[in-house]
Amino acid sequence: MEHPVPTDYLRWIVLLPLLGAATNGLLGAGLQKKLGKWMISLLACAPVVISFLLSLKAFFDLLGLKPEERFLLDRVYAWLSLGTLNADVAFWVDPLSAVMILVVTGIGGLIHIYSMGYMHEDRSYWRYFAFLNLFTFAMLLLVTADNLLLMFIGWEGVGLCSYALIGFWYQDHVNARAGNKAFIVNRVGDFGFILGIFLIFWSLNQQGHGTVTFREMQRFVPLLEGQEMWGIGVATLATLLLFIGATGKSAQIPLHVWLPDAMQGPTPVSALIHAATMVTAGVYMIARLHFLFSLAPVTLAIVATIGALTALFAATIALTQNDIKRVLAYSTISQLGYMFLGAGVAAYGAAVFHLMTHAFFKACLFLGSGSIIHALGGEQDMRKMGGLRGHMPYTFWTFAIAVLAIAGTPLTAGFFSKDEILWQAFSSEHGSALLWGLGVVVAGLTAFYMFRQFFLVFFGECRADSHTRAHLHESPKVMTMPLVVLAAGSVVAGWIGLPAAFGGSLFAGWLEPVFGPHQEAHGSAGLEISLMLLSVAVAALGFYLAYLVYFRRTLAPERFSSLAGGLPYRLSYNKYYVDEIYQFVFVEGSLLLARIGAWFDLHIIDFVVDGSAKLTAFVSWLNGLFDDYVVDGIVNQVADSTFAAGDKFRKIQTGNINSYLYVILGAVVITMIIKLRYWS
């Protein structure tokens, strides 16, 4: 299709970070030694910043187009074309992916800059940035791909980079194992995802329109209605399979186990990958394929339920964790649950909106915690922190804003996006009061555990040892500036998505070309406002509890932990023992199967093979015996009698070649006599 604007700059949005990764990955070690770390930083940060600028250009180019044809397509080359399968390397930017590339390059850029300070002491500085760039590339590929297969490259690529960055300090086995876990759990999800792709392609192919390209899929997907496989509607089955992929990437039940462990990586990585961008890929994917998910109400219900349950489940675990990053990790899972809740009630716009605001405040929280960990020399246990407010003013204030945002304080970004989701959960035709109720409970829990963390870290006595305390310092500018920007975003980003009751959402309008016209809410504006007030009240209750327990210390935490015999506390503290169960069932299970397989090879198949060889040997041994005793016995007998009878022929029986010749000759003669006598 002809475009009024040239589009071939789109490829550079994606490819520049790849170039950065390639130069740093191949030449980084040498460059770092010869020219110093600034060269690495330049090579790594410049591409991301340029990508961000190009993304802005793409955004404005889109603005310049009529809403109904708002997309840019940059087709690079034909990648796979076999039979009816046609997948190009092509980059596609529509309003949805425009949001994503802005988030990825924007927040990604900030985190790159932050990392320059955070990772400054590390020997493998170049390796870190190579992977960070590679990650940015993969994520951009994921969000700009114009077909499912290309998207899958990004999908797995981010998994790979996540693996490499979680295990960045690979000399410690714990880190390496955490990386493995992340990759394998993601692989399980990817397994579902790829099967989903197959199913979609195959069933569209049945209709004569085999395709994996999003735009064509959108056109032909209605054909799938009524098609069945294994007694389930194809659309339902395909979306369920894709959703397995989403649970893997976005850490939803039951594949959430990798994300808390992923905190073993450097903190900026946690911020970029495990909070702001990669984990939202599942949400993006559902939004991208909204036309397909909308065909499958069953899947939507499952998505919403899983989302709500994950939100609750992760929030309850976050209540009791002591590791500063683990609390944030569970809070991420919980927030992702919100997004899935939104997507599950077909409020894709709200889900993407929350994705964006969450990216701001969660990145801010993680980078803030990174700043704290940096200041404390690597300490991550909140029980050994406290009273940091005075030492780290920038970190304190930005962290405070982000906590307010995530807790859903009115007028912050989190408030608008979360309430949009809750309202949709209540009012949408796919929603219900129960889902809404769960969401509100989680809002209260979120407020509690976030303020618990906030108070534990910044207020009260400093519980760190004296040596660490002496070295307390605010982080350098290069780290605090991104925090300030992100904190500002945590407030401002929400204002583009005001609820309908307050004048309507710019953001929803922007996404309208993708998701279709905004759904008419079933409830009135009054109902929306009162529900909003209710959730704010619940969040305030959470805040108040945290305030009492951890700030005023008028309520002892033990009052909660000893509740019902301490069982809920222990369950939460031990993450409901999910890791242990998985370890036992899946890891040990597959190892057991593996050993059985190897045993079978060694003892059954090889037994048969070696056995047949031995059997052959045995038979030939028997044969030998037969020869020795029976055949030779007869022959010897004959020979002996010949010997005894014909002493005169002794001379020719010399045992040399002559005797054999005679025997042969004799045999021939006898044969010929017989032949001539009887057969002619």
């Binding site: 796979l80 493995n180 099967l195 593996a594 050993r595 198949i605």
Partner: protein
């Protein structure tokens, strides 16, 4: 020159063997360089062939044919189509690189390189031969040097491995010979010419044979011949339950021979099925493919992956991963869809390069540490960063990471197979997870973690070793990004192949 390019490619190494035999036996370096010199022209010719092959035509190209033993209608008949040209490329490339991987051999150098060059000719011949008799000769020609290369230059249990390999493949050869003769005597006029046999493929009977067990199974002449050929090829693939020679042979064979075994020899099994079973016995193929290719393929994937997981010997692990990966080829070609069969052949090519890398990589570490116990290392990433990088590339490619070549072929195979056998595809795809599991576990145990004090001073990978690994690595990346480089060659030939079988599918 250009008229006989295939002949030159095939017999250049043989000439090299002659030259090597004439060299004085203590001039090791001279022998090595001469061997390299004689494997280079086939590689260059293969590249030339790649450039001049017309991928739009489905038929055979670069045909050479003349009567050889006219009394029995045996001809010297060679040519390539899309299926074989990819294998010819792979063979030429791997043989050239493996000469350099063999640099470290210092026991009876002359014999080693002479046999290696003979092996090269045998392999090349198998892929270009279009006369059944010629095909069989090359097939056997390749077996012999392989036996000696494993049996003389192998590890501690080399005799056992070599004999096991020999017996297994000999069993396969015998069955194949019977099948070849059966086809010969049912052709009219008697001929070994594959193209003629294919043209007559409707003549071979499908009516059930009147004796047990074929009457029970409803098998006709076609089916019996198909099975005989299949077992012969399945041993090479190696398909369960004929696969146990592979781990032993791999573990005992020297590095370069492992590479050749995995990279080229295994392909002959699947190549043979596609070259012979598919077009010559289409009815039987259509009936039996499900049981013996698809089911067995999916089983191979899972079983190989599980066995690999249980191994502690690095080389054995890679060997079992080959079993697993060849399962994809079987599954893909059994689907009779464009994606499946193209993916299968692409997987053959990719497996050749990727597993080649893996074995070379194991060889590098074995040369330094003199053992291959996965648990015996640890933290090598800090000691040998470049080596770790290259190994990671190979391991991730083998895991089917998108962007690398293994992914493309696995996805194509599974996408193709899904259209026929969704359940098997689900099983096969779960192999992807298992593969990730055992390879990541391996990476963790070998490369990550604290540095093992014993290996603190291991030297980094050297230039020669890099020279063998890097070209393969580049191919792995290029094919991941631009798979059409190979797919373009395959497409029309393989679609044509599909068309011969599809009418018989019920």
């Amino acid at each position: 020159m250009t008229d006989h390019v295939l002949t030159y490619m095939t017999f250049f190494p043989l000439a090299g063997m002659g030259v090597v035999l004439l060299l004085p036996r203590e001039r090791h370096d001279l022998i090595r360089w001469v061997s390299a010199l004689f494997t280079l022209p086939p590689l260059l010719l293969a590249v030339w062939l790649y450039g001049h092959f017309d991928p739009t035509k489905p038929g055979l190209q670069f045909i050479e044919k003349f009567r050889w033993i006219p009394d029995y209608n045996i001809a010297y008949f060679v040519g390539v189509d899309g299926l074989s040209i990819s294998m010819v490329l792979l063979t030429a490339l791997l043989c050239f690189l493996c000469i350099f991987a063999s640099w470290g051999i210092d026991k009876a150098v002359k014999g080693y390189f002479a046999l290696f060059l003979l092996l090269d000719t045998g392999m090349m011949g198998v892929f270009v031969a279009l006369d059944f008799f010629l095909f069989y000769i090359f097939w056997e020609l390749m077996l012999l040097p392989m036996y000696f290369l494993i049996g003389i230059w192998g590890g501690p249990r080399r005799e056992y491995a070599a004999i096991k390999f020999f017996l297994y493949t000999l069993l396969g050869s015998v069955l194949m010979l019977l099948a070849i003769l059966a086809l010969y005597f049912s052709s009219e006029p008697y001929t070994f010419d594959m193209t003629v046999l294919i043209a007559q493929n409707t003549k071979y009977g499908t009516a059930a044979l009147p004796f047990w067990p074929f009457d029970r199974l409803g098998w006709g002449f076609q089916h019996v011949v198909w099975m005989a050929l299949f077992i012969g090829f399945a041993i090479k693939i190696p398909a369960f339950p004929f696969h146990t020679w592979l781990p032993d042979a791999h573990v005992e064979a020297p590095t370069a021979i492992s590479v050749i075994l995995a990279g080229v020899l295994l392909k002959m099994g699947t190549y043979g099925i596609m070259r012979i079973n598919f077009p010559m016995l289409p009815a039987a193929t259509a009936e039996l493919a499900y049981y013996f290719l698809a089911v067995l393929g999916a089983w191979n994937i899972i079983y190989g992956a599980l066995c690999a997981m249980a191994q502690t010997d690095f080389k054995k692990l890679v060997a079992y991963s080959s079993v697993s990966h060849m399962g994809y080829v079987m599954l893909g070609m059994a689907s009779f869809t464009s994606q499946g069969i193209n993916g299968a052949v692409l997987q053959m090519f990719n497996h050749g390069t990727i597993t080649g890398m893996l074995f070379l990589m194991v060889g590098v570490i074995y040369d330094r540490a003199h053992h291959r116990e996965v648990d015996g290392f640890g933290g090598l990433a800090a000691v040998m960063p470049v080596y770790t990088g290259v190994s990671a590339l190979a391991l991730f490619a083998s895991m089917g990471l998108p962007g690398l070549s293994g992914f493309i072929s696995e996805v194509l195979v599974l996408l193709g197979a899904w259209q026929k056998y969704p359940i098997l595809t689900v099983l096969g795809a779960s192999g992807v997870v298992l593969t990730a599991g055992y390879f990541l576990w391996t990476i963790q145990r070998v490369f990550l973690g604290p540095v093992n004090e014993k290996y603190k001073t291991l030297p980094e990978i050297n230039g020669r070793e890099l020279f063998t690994l890097v070209p393969l690595g580049i191919i792995v990346i290029i094919l991941g990004v631009y798979p059409n480089a190979i797919l373009d060659l395959l497409r029309s030939s393989l679609d044509e192949l599909n068309r011969t079988v599809i009418p018989y599918l019920s």
